[in-house]
């Protein structure tokens, strides 16, 4: 399982890099998605690790996978709202550069 | 009589009256004033009932009441008083109506709020003195703070907001530390006895033995800081002059008369009994601060141009005496200290009332703003003189007895501290007489020619205090016998093992060989009970029992 976990760690780190280093909101959102996927892979990896057949023949609860489904749903919702914000920002500020958006200082 | 919950009444009469007066909107200002006065007089009557029906039980407190309050934390609504608390209660109950009468027509804006705040203040003060449960004590300790801050903050002088904020922050800083110490104490008691409790008696039994001396020192410091700010002890006193200058007359009277005693009362009732090792460890420091405070306070008073500030600094000096007495570890000094707490309440309370009198007439308080008042207001001048004499401790007045006992007692264990303290006696005369000279003597100002003398109402307030000054001055045993037992218990904690009724190091009265003295003992003496015959054994019972002095 370690290679899969290593992969997910790598993806997660790349996503983090994206969020930190990039000023363009869109790229940051994409990087965010990467991080989430990194997490998903880890979940699935663990689900696979603990996969065992129940006595009644059904496979054990692939809870990990169910969990990934939930994560995906959340990610979808999050992207929707995120992008809506981007659009409204673009419409009002005409920019996607996070550095211009410093209204919250003080 | 004992089934009546006297102590609870002391707290709840003013509190409930205040509530009623505040709640019902329809009351006129006059009605609120009369209501407040009535409540305070009832409380005064109650305190007298307490005074005359008080007989100290062998152990523990008198008039005990005990009901559960917060079950979960073992907090109980427990009340009980001893001689010291009783004297403080009577003092508070005495000064409260006087403060109300003194500000009868002095307060104009929002007068009803003023009197209601006074009542809440009285409830808080009574609560502090009667509480025998630490949590209850702390609640009242904080409750008392709010009305006082309002009194200074709303009805005060020009810089009232600064003064009241400073007052609140100063006291809060101290009491928060104390709160942490209380929690620690609660935990220590819980571990020691299995069930947590805030009862003072149990704390006094359990803590000294179950808490390490090192921890006791820090806990004593925490409690002590909170009380030292209240006293105020030397470095923590700068809030007092501002609070006094800006407070209205009634506020100053109560602040000086009672609130300052909370600090010393706190030391006596809580800090010393709970953490004796800490108390003993910090005694030299406190004695030094007290002695410095006395001289420092007096010096400061000499430089003031505002009478109220002058009296405020003199309070620092007077309470420096009290602290000196409390921590010198002799019964005489501690008794003197407790007495001085009451004396200071009376003399400084009276001083502030007197300042209030001329402030109402001239609206100035500068020491240089007056002159030749003795001609214009002779009765006022005489009253002021008597109170001044009490303040500087002239024999025959109560001030002398307090200071004499403190200095005599302190000398027995810390001669240097007594020496420095006694300097305060000299400086006291300097600034008080200078004040009296500037205000009353000299040619007199044309603008102050027609000031009318004290009115009967003002007399009604001042004369009882003057009478008390002489009564306590000539017959101090009335009060000393009351507080002897509890004070002895506290002092015993400071000097474990010493017999308090013996003057250490005193020489045995050697049989006076009579060859030189032709006429020996005086003839039979009439009158009085224990004849002070100078014969050897007479002196023995009178003075120190014989004690071998190694040649």
């Amino acid at each position: 399982m370690t290679p899969y976990l290593l992969l997910s760690a790598a993806l997660f780190s790349i996503g983090t890099f994206g969020v930190i280093a990039r000023r363009n909101i869109l790229i940051m959102l994409m990087a965010l998605e990467l991080m989430l996927n990194g997490a998903n892979i880890a979940l699935v990896a663990f689900a696979r690790m603990h996969a065992a057949a129940n006595p009644d023949g059904t496979s054990t609860a692939a809870i990990g996978q169910v969990f990934v489904l939930v994560v995906m749903a959340v990610a979808a919702g999050e992207v929707a709202v995120g992008l809506a914000i981007v659009i409204s920002l673009w419409r009002t500020r005409r920019t996607v550069d996070t550095n211009d958006l410093q209204m919250l200082n003080g | 009589m004992s089934e009546l919950p006297l102590l609870s009444l002391l707290i709840w009469i003013p509190a409930l009256t205040a509530l009623v007066l505040a709640a019902v909107p329809g009351f006129t200002e006059q009605f609120v004033k009369v209501g407040a006065l009535a409540a305070s007089l009832v409380v005064f009557a109650l305190s007298l009932v307490l005074l005359f029906s008080f007989h100290a039980p062998a152990t523990g407190l008198a008039f005990v009441e005990d009901h559960a309050w917060i079950e979960f934390f073992h907090v109980r609504y427990a009340l009980g008083i001893d001689g010291i608390a009783l004297s403080m209660i009577v003092l508070t109950a005495l000064i409260q109506p006087m403060a109300i009468v003194a500000s009868w027509n002095a307060i104009h804006d929002r007068a009803s709020g003023f009197f209601i705040a006074l009542l809440v203040l009285e409830a808080g003060m009574m609560g502090v003195f009667v509480a025998s449960d630490l949590f209850l004590f702390y609640t009242f300790w904080e409750v008392m703070l709010i009305p006082m801050a309002l009194l200074i903050g709303i009805w005060g002088g020009p810089r009232r907001v600064y003064a009241s904020i400073k007052f609140v922050l100063y006291t809060m800083a101290g009491s928060l530390l104390m709160f942490i110490a209380i929690l620690y104490g609660y935990w220590a008691v819980k571990t020691a006895t299995g069930t947590g409790s805030f009862d003072i008696a149990t704390w006094a039994q359990v803590l000294p033995t179950h808490v390490s001396p090192y921890a006791q020192m820090w806990l004593f410091a925490a409690f002590g800081l909170s009380f030292a700010i209240k006293v105020p002890l030397f470095p923590f006193h700068t809030w007092l002059p501002d609070a006094h200058v800006e407070a209205p007359t009634a506020g100053s009277v109560i602040l000086a008369g009672v609130l300052l005693k909370m600090g010393t009362y706190g030391f006596l009732r809580f800090a010393i009994p709970f953490f004796p090792a800490g108390a003993v460890a910090l005694t030299p420091l406190i004695l030094a601060l007290a002695a410095i405070g006395i001289v420092y306070g007096s010096l400061m008073s000499m430089t003031q141009t505002d009478i109220k500030k002058l009296i405020a600094y003199s309070s620092v000096a007077h309470l420096g005496f009290v602290m000196l007495g409390l921590f010198s570890g002799t019964l005489i000094a501690a008794q003197g200290a407790v007495m001085q707490m009451v004396n200071h309440g009376i003399s400084t309370g009276a001083l502030f009332l007197l300042v209030g009198v001329i402030y109402e007439r001239t609206h100035t308080r500068g020491t240089k703003d007056f002159g030749g008042l003795a001609r214009v207001m002779p009765v006022y001048a005489t009253l002021f003189l008597i109170v001044t004499l009490s303040s500087i401790g002239l024999p025959g007045t109560n001030g002398f007895v307090g200071e004499f006992l403190i200095l005599l007692g302190t000398f027995q264990r810390y001669p240097i501290a007594a020496f420095v303290g006694a300097i305060g006696v000299v400086l006291g005369a300097v600034y008080m007489l200078t004040l009296y000279r500037n205000v009353f003597y000299g040619p007199g100002r044309p603008s102050q020619k027609n000031l009318k003398d004290v009115t009967p109402v003002e007399l009604m307030v001042l004369v009882p205090l003057v009478v008390l000054i002489f009564v306590l001055g000539l017959q101090p045993n009335l009060m000393l016998s009351l507080t002897e037992a509890p004070v002895a218990k506290v002092v015993q904690v400071l000097v474990p093992g010493e017999d308090l009724n013996v003057t250490a190091g005193a020489l045995p009265p050697s049989a006076a060989p009579a060859e030189e003295h032709a006429a020996e003992a005086p003839a039979a003496t009439e009158g009085g009970e224990a004849p002070a015959t100078p014969a050897a054994e007479g002196a023995a019972t009178d003075g120190a029992p014989p004690q071998e002095v190694t040649p």
């Binding site: 200082n105 | 004499l389 101090p476 050697s510 005086p522 009439e526």
Partner: protein, 647 residues
Amino acid sequence: MSSLLWLIPALPLFGFLINGTVGKRLPKPLVGAIAIAGPAIGFILAIFAFLQVHEGAGALATYASWISTGPLKVGAGLQVDALSAVMVLNVTGVGSLIHLYSYGYMVDDAGFARFMAYLNLFMTSMLILVMGDSLPLLFVGWEGVGLCSYLLIGFWFDDLANVDAGRKAFIVNRVGDFAFLMGMFALFALAGTLGYSGLEAALGHADTAAVLTAGPFAGFTVGSVLTFAAASLFIGATGKSAQIPLYIWLPDAMAGPTPVSALIHAATMVTAGVYMVGRLDFVFIQAPAVLTAMVLVASATALLSGAIAFSQNDIKKVLAYSTVSQLGFMFAGMATTFWASGLFHVLTHAFFKALLFLGAGAVIHALHHEQDIRKMGGLRKDLPLVFGVFLIGSLALAGVPPFAGFWSKDEILGNVLYTALEGGNPIWFLSFGMLVLTALMTAFYTTRLVVLTFFGEPADPNRHPHTPPWQMMVPLYVLAVLSVVGGFALASPLEHFTEPVWSHLHVNEEMFHHAHQVALATSLVAVVLGIGSAWWLYSSGRARLEAFVDGPGHLIHKLSLNKFYVDEIYEWTVVKPTQFGADLLFWLVDRLLIDRIVVEGSGQLALALGAILRRGQTGALSIGTFAITGGTLAVLGVLLYLGVAHV
């Protein structure tokens, strides 16, 4: 008789209460009567007590408890033994005379009732002082008389100078009382009690070499503690009885009305210190070092104040400095442990100094408050009676035999010489020398005073002084008789009467008589010289006087006139620094150190910290994300280190 003892101090107290409260509304004669009745009846009672004590009945005492807590039992009892009997007689006797005199002197003053009330309060305090049976009670009287002297000096309080003089008196006395308290505490530490009987029993024959093991003086010998106590008590006495260094208040106390100066600053209050030393003889006798210091201080004071009296132009100032000088004599007498001689001089001094002051009062009263002797002159013809009594008083003061002053002063000189010869201590010889020189100077300035006031021609002729009313003259006559008779009549009876009260050292009889002969001779020479030179210098107009003053005596005259600048020295070394120190302390410590730095400082600190952190909130997203990642990194690192490293 003992049960009536409390009446003696109580009667003037009632007088004070009545006059003090309703005095203004009562007719003046009634006020006067009430005021005089107190001390007069007291005097009669005192005579009874004296007689009873005289028949060997010892001391009469009543007992009441004042303060009792723990080991301290302070009684409020009164006692009259030989010593206090004499003092009570002196106080009530001279007091009554002066009250009568005050009636005449102050009757037309607006505050007459208040004045008489204060006088009565003074009598009460003084009587408590001399009749109290314990040190705290003595202290009550001690400060009580201090208060009354403050009130009476500043009696005419419209003029701030008087008030300042009164305040100066009270504060300087308070400094003395501070030392007195220290002495009292030391005695209590040593004896465990403060009553005289208890003290005498415990300390009377204490083993001075024994080292104390407990109490504040652990490690010191009993003797050293006794010396400390005696020294402190003596400093207290210098405050009350105006000796160096605390005498500066007495000359200024002349700002009060003249009867006050007579009663308080000549006859009674100032002798309180001498009474205290006499009362605690058993302490002082065991502290020889203090006795030597006492005689030195006493004779130095006598000499210094004598010199100042030389050139004073205010009649009352001359008498004031003379009083300080005579007090020096009294303390010198006490220092020789021949306690009776000190007391004897107290009595004689009370007689002739009260006489002189009252005489001066009569002169001032006659000349409508003129006090400068240079403006007086030739009163011999205008006020013959006053001149007569004043002359008697002066002769007594100067020490001319057979007047009272001669006997008591000679007695003291003899004792001092005897102690010097016996002990061989050079200080005693020096003191003897100074005292003889003072005797000469006393004679000189007394003659100068009499000559300038009564002889020569009047300064401004159109003045016609009128003889004072009988109330003022009668006391003068009585005191004059006492000044003449008081000397030889009281010398030996006083000694035998008070002998049992005191403890004495062994006396070498023949050395004693030898010393007294020599002292007698020297004092007579001194008196003659003094009077002669003063007469020669002053009697023939001003010529010789100017010659002396402009010539060699210029510097001394100037120094003496300005009181050797002692007041100014005190002003600059004590008063100004305290004032300045207080202001400095106020601004430096109270305002700056505590208020600005600690209190408001902590407030500013909080604000400053807030400002720094605020700069961090730039709102830029990158800062935020960096912070978050860094944070997680750190947390992860710590957890891993803890988790993995230990697993």
